[in-house]
Each structure stands twice: as structure tokens, then as C-alpha cells.
Symmetry: C2
Subunit: 283 residues, 2 copies
């Protein structure tokens, strides 16, 4: 998905929120926001996806504030919160008539734990709502069918906390060879290797990293190298907006599972803000 | 009122909205937003009021898009809309038990016609709500008393369309020497001389201009020259957020009449977003 001009004010809001999480020093916060203004003033937006610009924004904030992981506190908070919810989430799957459907809905409900689009969300009410509704874009039957025959699965995680919800879905894929992909370093509240281990994902899947925009953290999500690897997997499960923005045009067997949280993604994907989506883009 | 860092993403949103109103050319829109990023990256925010930065933002958009008045269409639309409502607004005053109170509420209800804080508002429901509620900050009795003895009144207008609502209040001030202040050139949907004339304000008040941030359009609102003049008036009626932001610390007999539409003004003035305020700051 290409970037829209509408993303720019949103990046400034993110820069402000990240700066406030990163430091209590008002002068440092102002410096960080000002540096983001300067950098965005220079970067070409052409042929860029929103996450590519987002990486620049959050890297600048980390650098100028001197805080390598501004969202550490909220990541830990939501990891713990989600961990406490895990038994009740498992219980919902156990009691359901369609385990994979319920587990898929739970994984998508967890996608509301996202400090990018807005820092205001209600996890509990989202779970209730998602479990009791259908998908606005509904390729679930294709998803189910694809998983039946799949031996290898790549699962692109999104946020800390959310990955406990992902674990519920992963546990329904027993017997398959699963690779779970997280960021190779901090970026907003995106899940990293530490978060994946906290959620116990390393016990059921191989962990792989992609770049957070910093050198040495893994391949870029929309790089040829990474997409070539995705194509070797029978099924790719892609969680959240950032993975959609990066890979909506990638040529692999991807199922995008997400909550629509931003008007530009709503326009691009064709479902309103607040929608729950299971979208196949097999070409 | 000093600027908050929270104002920066909001200015970018304004730059985007103004650019979209100014031109259909996506390349020009991007150039304008990029130039705003660059300019804000360079300007010191210290000791600045939000309108001072806002002038820079909207001047850049006008210049880069080549459109001298991006909000012309919505200004005309709301002038006409308000003009059609004028008879029913007058009727509400005629039928009320407290004419000045009703006229004051009508003038404040009109303050919702503001394309700065957000371009989404509901004029009719705001009128109903304001007429049926009290003021969150209520210095109305002081206001009434001050007006009783006042011979000279300065009335600082805010937006096009809204000034038809102001006319309803101005007509309750018969016999006083009134000066109505508008912008000396276009800025967002702020009222200009043309709008004041459309609303017939020139028939009941002298018209005076303040700067829209461009040379030759009048004195700056927070300049010594302008505040000295305000001090020569028995009462100053100041409409809207922009006048509050510019003059909240001015040493004159000012009554601020406004709808609170932004969280930073809410924090500064001490009343939540959505409040209706009549605030005296006589020192």
C-alpha cells in the first residue's frame, strides 16, 4: 500500500506520543518532534509504504530522546494483561463449535492492542464484539482450506500483548512447521523476540526477525529477499495494518488478519474503520 | 496562551485540509504539506501563541498552492447558510425572557462554524444544545453589568457565517459605539471585511482589521498597538479560540465568548471540549 498525504499529520501525532513516552523532558520532546518535522520535510514519499516512513519517525524519536524503547512500559503492561487473559481465551476455543474460527477471531481481536493508530482502545469490549460478529471481508473458508493442506506456515506477528492472542491461533495449527516473525528491534509497540518469548511462542514456532528500520535487525518486510522466503511457505498469516501496508502487493499466499484502525487503510482494503478482516490476496 | 507541542500534529492536519481545499493537484498538495513540515522544523515555538504559528502554516499553503483563499467556498456556504437562519435566530431572541442571554448564547453557538480545530461539526444541534444549557464558565452577570455602563465596545469576530450570529448579539447593544474587528486578509475560514459586509455588520458597527499574518493587513492581534487600543474600549467581546489564544494574557476588559473545541484550550481555560464559555479576564 502506498503512502497517503493523510499519513503525515498522523506521523506527527505518533512522534509526539512516542516522545512523551520516551522522556519527561519537554525540551527533548520538542527537539524530537522538530527533528521529525525536518526529516519528513526532506524525504520523498513517492513509492514509499507508510511503515517505511514510520520507521524513520520512530528511529528519530528514539535517537533524539536517547530512549531505545519508548513503548517498553506499555509493551510489558499488555504482555502481562494478555497473559492473564490467556486461560479465558483458551476456554472460549475449547467451548466453541468451530475451534479455528474462534481462535482466528481471538487473534484478530488482539490486534486492537496497537499504539500506532491511536493510544485509546478497549480490549475487552473488542473481544466481545469480534467474537459475536462476522468478518467484514470474509475469506475465512479459503483460509481454513489453505491451512488444511499446509505443511509450512509463516505467521507475521504485529504487537506485544497481541501475540498472546496469536498463540491461541498458533496452537490450533499443531503439526505444521511454523515460523513466527517479529521485529528485530523496538518499533512502537511491535512485538520483538523478547515479547515472543514472554508469550511462549518459541516453544511452538521458530522465531525469525524482520527489520525495525535499523541496520542489522533483519531483512526489510517488503524486500525481495523476505518476499521470496514468504513464497516458500504454503500459507502466510499476516497480522495487522503494518504488515498489510508493507505486503498488500506481495506475490505470496498471504491471508491478512486485522482490525481496520485507520481511514487510509479502510479506503485501501475496502472495509470501514472498526472492521474485522480475513483477506486473501493470492494472485 | 502559549503553544503546546500537541499543536504541531494539528497544524499538519490543518495544512493537509487547507491544501485539499486549495487545489485538486496532488503534487501541489504534497509540496504544500512538505513546505509546512520544513518551515515548522525551523521556527522556534518559544513564546509563540498558536495563531502565530497558524499564520505561517496557512500562508505557506496559500503561497505554494497559488490559491489566495482556500476556504472561500466554505466561507460563502456558511455565510449563506447562517443568513438563511437569521430570521429564526432573531425570533428566538424576540420570544425569550432574557434577550441578552439568548443573543449571547446564539453568538457562541455560531462559534461552532470553525474549520480550524476540525472540519466536522453540526450547526443545528449545537444551537439547540447551547440554547438549552448553561455556560461551563459563567461570567455572564459580569458581562451584562459591564455592558450596561459601556459606551464603547470592541467586538472581535471569529469566523465567516458565525458573524451572522454575532449580528444578533450586536443588535442587542444598540446605542453603543461598536467596532467590529475582522482579519485583513484570508486565514482559514476567519471572517474578513467582505464577510462582515455580507452579514450587514458595517450598518451597525465600524469595521477594523487585524493581521492575517501577511504584511499590510492590520496590526497583530497581540501587538502593543492593538492591545492599547482595546484598553480604550469599555468592553471587549472576543469570539472564539484564536482570539483567546492571542489575548488570554492581554491587559484589557475582555470577555471571551467561545465554544471549547480543542483539548489544549480546554486545559488552558479550564473547561472541557464541547463547553460553552463566557469568561472575564479583567485584571
Amino acid at each position: 500500500m502506498k503512502i497517503y498525504l493523510e499519513c503525515i499529520p498522523c506521523f506527527l501525532r505518533q512522534a509526539l506520543e512516542a516522545s512523551k513516552m520516551a522522556t519527561r523532558d519537554p525540551a527533548r520532546r520538542e527537539l524530537a518532534v522538530r527533528e521529525v518535522l525536518r526529516r519528513l520535510g526532506k524525504i520523498s514519499f513517492r513509492d514509499k509504504t507508510p511503515p517505511e516512513i514510520g520507521y524513520v519517525v520512530h528511529r528519530v524519536v528514539r535517537k533524539v530522546t536517547g530512549n531505545p524503547d519508548p513503548y517498553k512500559k506499555v509493551k510489558d503492561e499488555f504482555n502481562r494483561k494478555a497473559q492473564r487473559m490467556y486461560p479465558s481465551l483458551k476456554d472460549k476455543v475449547e467451548k466453541s463449535r468451530h475451534r479455528l474460527l474462534t481462535a482466528t477471531k481471538i487473534a484478530i481481536a488482539g490486534n486492537i492492542i496497537d499504539f500506532g493508530p491511536t493510544s485509546k482502545f478497549d480490549l475487552e469490549s473488542t473481544i466481545r464484539e469480534v467474537l459475536s460478529s462476522g468478518f467484514t471481508i470474509d475469506h475465512f473458508k479459503l483460509f481454513e482450506k489453505a491451512l488444511e493442506k499446509a505443511e509450512t506456515v509463516a505467521y507475521l506477528g504485529d504487537n506485544a500483548g497481541e501475540i498472546v492472542f496469536d498463540r491461541v491461533l498458533l496452537e490450533e495449527l499443531e503439526g505444521k512447521q511454523i515460523t513466527f516473525v517479529v521485529k528485530g528491534g523496538p518499533h512502537i509497540n511491535d512485538a520483538t523476540v523478547a515479547d515472543a518469548k514472554f508469550a511462549g511462542i518459541h516453544e511452538i514456532a521458530e522465531i525469525k526477525t524482520v527489520s525495525n528500520g535499523e541496520p542489522g535487525t533483519g531483512p526489510r518486510r517488503n524486500s525481495k529477499r523476505f518476499i521470496s522466503w514468504l513464497k516458500t511457505r504454503d500459507v502466510v498469516i499476516s497480522k495487522g495494518q503494518g504488515n498489510y501496508e508493507s505486503l498488500s502487493e506481495a506475490d505470496a499466499n498471504i491471508f491478512f488478519l486485522l482490525r481496520v484502525k485507520c481511514p487510509m487503510i479502510a479506503r485501501d482494503i475496502g472495509a470501514p474503520v472498526g472492521s474485522t478482516v480475513v483477506k486473501s490476496v493470492k494472485r
